[in-house]
């Protein structure tokens, strides 16, 4: 475990699990008779219970946000950049919670867990969860953990939308809210990219109408293609040029060379797609992209975003990333302007970066400094 004791890492972590045996009704009306959430925590909850911070993961994220597993010392949690002792979300003074959303595929009740009625995996029959369902289930988790209020709810991309949903659904619960690279709802272009991803999965012969697990197969080609398309939208054109250029991984540009050409960027995307396809459940990908499509912060307020955010009692940090074209800066500005119009305390910055939508996960001096300084106001002094 070369990194598990690394400087300012939370170190070795292990997931926890909680089972809720009361019926949980989703926004679409369907009911889960019982459900489980897997989650991780870092740091200690103080006696006053006022130092708890919730991290909401993005589309393909998990509850493993920071630290290392004993059997995988190489790969840190997905937001190890920001969570740890001395990091922006400082575990020396904050108690950090991250849970896997319902419908996920990393342990929380979802399409790859057993349907108690049939004893078989849910598969495509798993009901469609929405962002507000995840918020409500996380509230159950908070109560189970003895937390009565979040000092902050924080997320990027879909996680940022979830953090905003928290702030308006349970105003008394959210003291601070951080929305990174988020949007108040998706555009037609956003939905179109999600549809391409879903179509890739549904077109795979191994999809089997979503019942692939009982046929002992997975639609890995479809999921890989979905991930390749998705991944493309997380990067910026300039960032890709810097990183891959037109470099060949295999083959040669010389005229006499007769070979297969593989550009670096192709190799990278194929690798990302293949790796993802063995780790991520196809049904979950379909459900999560659909939850994104359905998300609309102002849906309960006839599209009036100002009226929607007016319910919140939180202080907000809204950050966008200059080269993000999935949820570009002007989408964050919509959120910012609605918050300003509603008279909510808000800090906004557009981080200059070539990292595209992935900017919220990657090192950047201004980004880390801003998050670090803003987080000083979160939790007990």
């Amino acid at each position: 475990m070369p990194n598990s004791g690394a400087h300012n890492s939370v170190g070795l972590v292990s997931p926890c699990r909680v089972r809720f045996e009361t019926a949980f009704q989703l926004a679409n009306g369907s009911v889960l008779a019982e459900h489980e959430l897997v989650y991780e925590t870092y740091g200690e909850l103080n006696a006053a219970g006022d130092n708890a911070v919730l991290i909401c993961h993005a589309l393909s994220g998990t509850h493993h946000a920071a630290g290392f597993y004993a059997d995988d010392g190489e790969r840190a949690g997905w937001w190890d950049l920001a969570i740890g002792p001395g990091k922006p979300i400082d575990t020396r003074r904050l108690f950090v919670v991250c849970s896997n959303n319902i419908g996920g595929c990393d342990g929380s009740t979802g399409p790859n867990t057993l349907n108690p009625e049939t004893g078989k995996p849910w598969g495509a029959k798993f009901p469609q969860p929405q962002v507000q369902d995840w918020v409500r289930s996380q509230k159950l988790l908070a109560e189970y953990l003895g937390i009565s209020r979040w000092a902050a709810v924080i997320g990027g991309s879909l996680g940022g939308m979830q953090a905003l949903q928290w702030a308006i659904d349970y105003p008394e619960w959210v003291e601070h809210c951080v929305a990174l690279a988020a949007a108040p709802k998706l555009t037609a272009q956003n939905i179109a990219f999600n549809e391409i991803a879903r179509h890739a999965i549904l077109s795979d012969p191994d999809w089997c109408d979503g019942d692939y697990l009982s046929r002992d197969t997975i639609p890995s080609r479809g999921v890989a293609l979905a991930r390749m398309v998705g991944h493309l939208t997380y990067m910026s054109a300039d960032g890709m040029s810097d990183r891959f250029g037109r470099e060949l991984r295999e083959g040669s540009f010389t005229p006499e060379a007769e070979s297969e050409w593989v550009f670096q960027v192709e190799s990278y995307l194929r690798h990302q797609g293949t790796r993802f396809s063995t780790q991520f459940d196809a049904n979950t990908y379909v459900l999560m992209t659909r939850a994104l499509d359905l998300f609309d912060l102002a849906v309960g307020d006839h599209g009036d975003l100002k009226a929607a955010v007016d319910k919140a009692h939180a202080d907000f940090l809204v950050l966008s990333f200059s080269s993000d074209w999935r949820f570009p800066p002007h989408r964050s500005i919509e959120i910012r302007d609605a918050l300003m119009a509603a008279g909510k305390p808000v800090t906004y910055a557009n981080i200059e970066t070539d990292n595209g939508h992935d900017g919220f996960l990657l090192p950047n001096q201004t980004y880390e400094a801003l998050l670090t300084q803003w987080m000083q106001r979160v939790g007990p002094a």
């Binding site: 302007d337 119009a341 808000v346 800090t347 906004y348 981080i351 201004t366 801003l370 300084q373």
Partner: protein
Amino acid sequence: MNRLDLNTVLGWVPRGSKVLDLGCGDGAFLKRLCEERGAVGVGVDIDPDNLVSAVSKGLDVIQEDINEGLNCFTRYRFDVVILTHALQELTHPHLALERMVHIGEEAIVSFPNFGHWRCRTHLGLTGHMPVSRAMPRSWYDTPNIHFCTVKDFEALCSDLRIDIIERATVAGAAQNWLGKWWPNLFASSAVYRIRRSAR
């Protein structure tokens, strides 16, 4: 830079005001306004390092280019909108002034007076654009692209139907009384309280 203008601004901000500080820099002045005047402040700046400094002081800041029109404030009103020593750096000072008196019940503006006798003497005697301790950059690389005089500013306010509520001048100690009586010649900086004309 001589920032005596800030003391004047501080005195003009009513207790407990909602304040918007345009070009708030590192937030030091806005922080003073919050602490000494009980203001509820929002800062606007474009420089990332300034934003980090202001946030580290516990302030709320919005990263925005004032030249882009301050559109985020269309539906929110402030008691006071402040622009200190930045008017001359703006692409369209007149549009910014109009926005300021629209967003705020009142606006406070300070700027270096280009009609000051030192500037005039420098230009008149040397034939070169004035360069001084307060304005150290050469004409081609200065951020100060729209210098004006006290007279110019007051004429613009009149054109824009903006009322001047109060004027204060900053001058060297020896010329302080001269600055009051003859601001266009002796004030090194001028500070104005303005608002949209009721006319």
